[in-house]
Symmetry: C2
Subunit: 195 residues, 2 copies
DNA sequence: TGCTACATGTAACACGTTACATGATTGT
DNA sequence: ACAATCATGTAACGTGTTACATGTAGCA
């Protein structure tokens, strides 16, 4: 009944980050960006208020940091319980908003050339993602700290790899389709059967 | 310099929908839901203000509908120009927020069983999507109206198929990994090499 | 000396959903 | 008569980003 402010998913991400190790707000954002970056993001504008709220509820405790004025937050027992509670909550599906596919859908208006460029960019994107994933796997195998977490972390990387590979294959196919178009004489107004 | 209200991507989706055929606000939402549903969504709260703004800028024109009080919006020439302009704008990448992968990342805390359930649900999701895509392709080949658009529309469906297939394959792999865990005796505290 | 990275926080803004208020039309 | 669907619009709310204001610490 206590009207708790909903910080929603941010609370989960922040508590999760702190469950790995204590950190400043700044460092929380860094680790979310660097470690969860492929499937999650948070901004300072969310993180600091979330930390303040978590502190009020005693889910994290504020300690003095190495630098003047900086605070190191540590997750409490009640924070770990809260984290589990949040993890067990149903996944809130975000409504899809894919700007690339939206543009492609109106490809006739946009023009085949511009579509081609969009797909080429998507292809480059998928390739650079795959490079990133390989690097992440390398870093992961070369660390002993959180060995028990590794199988789960690798699962999330694998999801990214599957998705990026799928995008790569799709762009190849799509470019083929588009090239077939380009090689066909344009049918401006009337392509009805000539009786 | 005219301080135009940013309706952003909604403007693009609405103009796009109206570029196919004139429609009421209600019908615009229906077609966005039914046709672009796999990669886009809009709510009434966005659509009606967007239509009003487009009308003010003369990008659409309001006509009387078949029902009392209903308005049928038709895209104007300036509206088509605006649509092309919006289509040419760079794709605004949305920051990633994948609740499934976030939970999986903290799988050690969440527990192997709950992770399994999440993945099974994701699998069912991917399968139902694939069924949908096949149905969409069927409907598409059985219509002559917008034949010139079909290649582009099929491209967006193909993207969905590639992604859903990738998810399906990933879930299979992930369940395998998780089952390997479960069959191993749990290592609660000390798994250091026994000297 | 000055740049960059570390660090905290707030305020303004943009965006999007949900719920609400209202009513006509169609079919049973 | 009543339910479902079509139809329009607004208001409240939640959430998330960006920009701003402020300052410290390390290093070249």
């Amino acid at each position: 009944m206590s009207m708790q402010r909903r910080v929603g998913q941010t609370e989960l991400a922040v508590l999760g980050a702190l469950s790995v190790e204590p950190a400043t707000g700044y460092a929380v954002r860094e680790s979310i960006r660097d470690v969860l970056g492929h499937f999650w993001s948070e901004s300072f504008g969310q993180i600091y208020p979330a930390l303040a709220a978590l502190e009020r509820q005693d889910h994290v405790r504020r300690g003095v940091g190495s630098r003047a004025g900086s605070s190191v937050f540590t997750i409490t027992e009640s924070g770990r319980a809260r984290l589990l509670e949040l993890l067990l909550e149903p996944v809130h599906a975000v409504p899809p908003r894919n700007g690339l596919l939206l543009r492609l859908f109106f490809g006739r208006t946009l023009g085949a050339q511009a579509c081609r460029e969009l797909i080429v960019a998507a292809r480059a994107d998928a390739e650079s993602q795959l490079t990133d994933y390989r690097a992440v796997i390398g870093e992961l195998s070369a660390e002993e700290q959180h060995a028990q977490d590794h199988p789960y972390w690798l699962l999330t990387v694998s999801a990214g790899q599957h998705t990026a590979t799928a995008m790569l294959e799709w762009t190849t196919e799509a470019l083929g389709v588009l090239d077939d178009f380009a090689s066909r004489p344009p049918v401006a107004a009337g392509s009805r059967d000539p009786k």
